[in-house]
């Protein structure tokens, strides 16, 4: 079967369960395609040899009751994987081999999946284009020299380019949804506390969430079902009743009330984004749901708030990378000299920039003006959503204010790069679930996404809405395999 890699996760599982395909067939197919796809630079580390061994082992004694029986999968290199190098896209962790496994990946392997390798990402997940990775930028399967988005750029590229059936990324300010939107794939950022953060290299602890990225909503729902679990090892993990998202998936969203927030109509937003949004509203109505105009008055303050909170937490989270216990160490005359050289040489420019911002906003005399202020505004932003959810069940917005841009286009202007996340960041600040689904193309033929934001713990509802819309939209990703010679 030459078209194995074109199959969705759901199809692959079905074929493995029906014995039409073996895990070895599937794993081999994805390895072959991954090997032909080096130009995408989606992988930092591959584990193909042992993946194949594991697939063979699985086939000898297949456990078909598992949710991901013998399914190969590559994951973002922000998840610590036991005995497999984990770099977070940084030089400072260039040689780091964890002796432990993140809870989220553990959940995946426990359901029968097999690790293909570790996917490229922006350094410490700080970036919106995958250009800050120490291991080089990632190419989008959509077009040559196009960014796949970030920070889960390798993940988005690998799913869109069919190097892995599905994957997981992390989303701190849009790092799953924005690259999903840029590559015509589906990406879900779960409610804060839904997926354990244990074993995930931290960027901003109060915002980070792992989530699934897939070709379609059903695959996404299934993977979410696998990765979401209550974990006593993470004090912010929440013990709530988790659905069987894929089993309970329905396209019946009749009578649902969907909010359309006027503040997401931002200055300078291209007309094609506005048009896409209007189309989305029409799809919602076609599905028998109702749209209601709502207001999220503090939306425009979300991005400035984010650029205080996230760097502040990051500046502290990244203090552990000091050349003492693991990772890169530069030579130094004494301890302090060693620290300063290690961190100067080990971190890239964007990471250093954010550490500096974070250090500044927490420093003596500025805490109240910046960090405390941001935490207050964050409360207002959360209140906006709470208020809106008294009237609506979910909210529909564009995923990004533009389609994907060219590599190098925004690297010299941090603020214009940050503006990429303008629609996704409020969701992280409020701890809510949000999903991006592909909804159309721009004039250049690049994918555009729509975002559905849900109430806390209401992943099922936004998955259902996404599922219903997906049917109406009938999106076809234009993958030309341009990188395969």
């Amino acid at each position: 079967m030459s078209d194995i890699t074109k199959q969705s996760l759901t199809e692959l599982i079905e074929n493995i369960k029906n014995k039409k395909l073996s895990s070895t067939d599937v794993t081999k197919a994805f390895i072959d395609r991954s090997e032909k796809s080096e130009e995408l630079n989606a992988y930092i580390t591959n584990d193909f040899t042992s993946a194949l061994d594991k697939a063979k082992k699985f086939d000898q004694k297949p456990n078909l009751d598992l949710k991901l029986p013998g399914i190969p999968m590559a994951v973002k290199d922000l998840f610590c994987t036991k005995n497999i190098k984990t770099t977070a896209g940084s030089k400072i962790l260039n040689n780091f081999v964890p002796t432990y496994e993140s809870t989220v990946t553990e959940n995946i392997w426990n359901e029968g999946a097999i690790l293909l390798g570790k996917l490229n990402c922006d350094e410490f997940a700080m970036g919106s284009s995958n250009e800050t990775s120490f291991f080089g930028n990632v190419q989008s399967p959509i077009d040559k020299n196009l960014v796949p988005g970030g920070s889960s750029g390798g993940s988005a590229s690998a799913v869109a380019g069919q190097l892995t059936p599905v994957t997981i990324g992390t989303d701190t300010g849009g790092s799953i949804r924005q690259p999903a939107s840029f590559t015509g794939t589906v990406g879900l950022k779960p409610t804060y506390g839904s997926c354990s953060r244990y074993g995930i290299v931290a960027f901003a602890s109060s915002l980070d969430q792992a989530g699934p990225m897939a070709q379609n909503v059903r695959d996404c729902a299934l993977l979410q079902e696998v990765i979401s679990s209550y974990d006593p090892k993470d004090s912010t993990s929440i013990n709530f009743k988790r659905n069987h998202y894929s089993k309970e998936l329905t396209n019946n969203i009749k009578g649902k009330k969907i909010g359309i927030p006027k503040e997401y109509r931002v200055d300078g937003m291209p007309k094609e984004i506005e048009d896409l949004w209007q189309k989305g509203i029409q799809y919602i109505k076609d599905c028998g749901a109702e749209t209601i105009d709502i207001s999220l008055p503090n939306t425009s303050y979300a991005l400035p708030t984010y650029y205080i909170v996230a760097p502040a937490e990051a500046s502290s989270n990244l203090a552990r990378y000091d050349g003492v216990k693991y990772g890169f160490r530069a030579k130094g005359e004494n301890l302090i000299d060693m620290y300063e050289k290690t961190r100067s040489e080990g971190f890239g420019a964007e990471v250093q920039r954010r550490i500096m911002i974070g250090t500044y906003v927490l420093s003596s005399g500025y805490y109240d003006a910046y960090y405390l202020k941001a935490q207050k505004v964050r409360k207002l932003i959360k209140n906006d959503f709470d208020e809106a959810y008294k009237k609506v069940d979910a909210i529909l917005t564009p995923s990004t204010p533009s389609s994907a841009f060219k590599i190098g286009e925004k690297t010299n202007d941090p603020v214009s790069m940050y503006l990429n996340d303008i629609f996704t960041v409020p969701v992280n600040l409020a701890g809510l679930p949000g999903i991006s689904i592909p909804a159309g193309h721009d004039s250049k033929g690049y994918p555009l996404g729509l975002q559905i934001i849900g109430k806390a713990f209401d992943e099922q509802n936004i998955l259902n809405i996404a599922y219903a819309m997906e049917e109406k939209i009938n999106f076809k990703n234009k993958i030309t395999d341009w990188w395969i010679k």
Partner: protein, 95 residues
């Protein structure tokens, strides 16, 4: 507001990241444009707003006092840049 080179130097000391003059100037420029954009928050009156302390709507769970972690010295030291069986080793600390 304006972040000058002296401030950059001060922050880089706190953050333990050495920056040379050239980098410092670039950083000052970047940070100034970022903070111009952050200053937008000053439009908002927040005197009566309680700051958000945690986004997770739950209370802190407490674990029982049990020793579960064994001696994993080998694992712990394995990744350290300077080899020693028993200790982490760093260049001499000067007070």
């Amino acid at each position: 507001m304006s972040i000058d080179l002296k401030t950059i130097k001060h922050i880089s000391k706190l953050a333990r990241i050495s920056v040379d003059e050239q980098r410092a100037e670039k950083l000052a420029g970047d940070l100034n444009s970022i903070f111009d954009f952050i200053e937008k928050l000053n439009e908002l009156k927040t005197d009566s707003v309680e700051p958000l302390t945690s986004i997770a709507e739950t209370t802190l769970k407490l674990r029982s006092d049990e020793v579960k972690s064994k001696n994993i010295r080998e694992q712990i030291i394995k990744n350290s840049p300077q080899d020693n069986e028993d200790y982490f080793v760093v260049p001499k600390v000067i007070e």
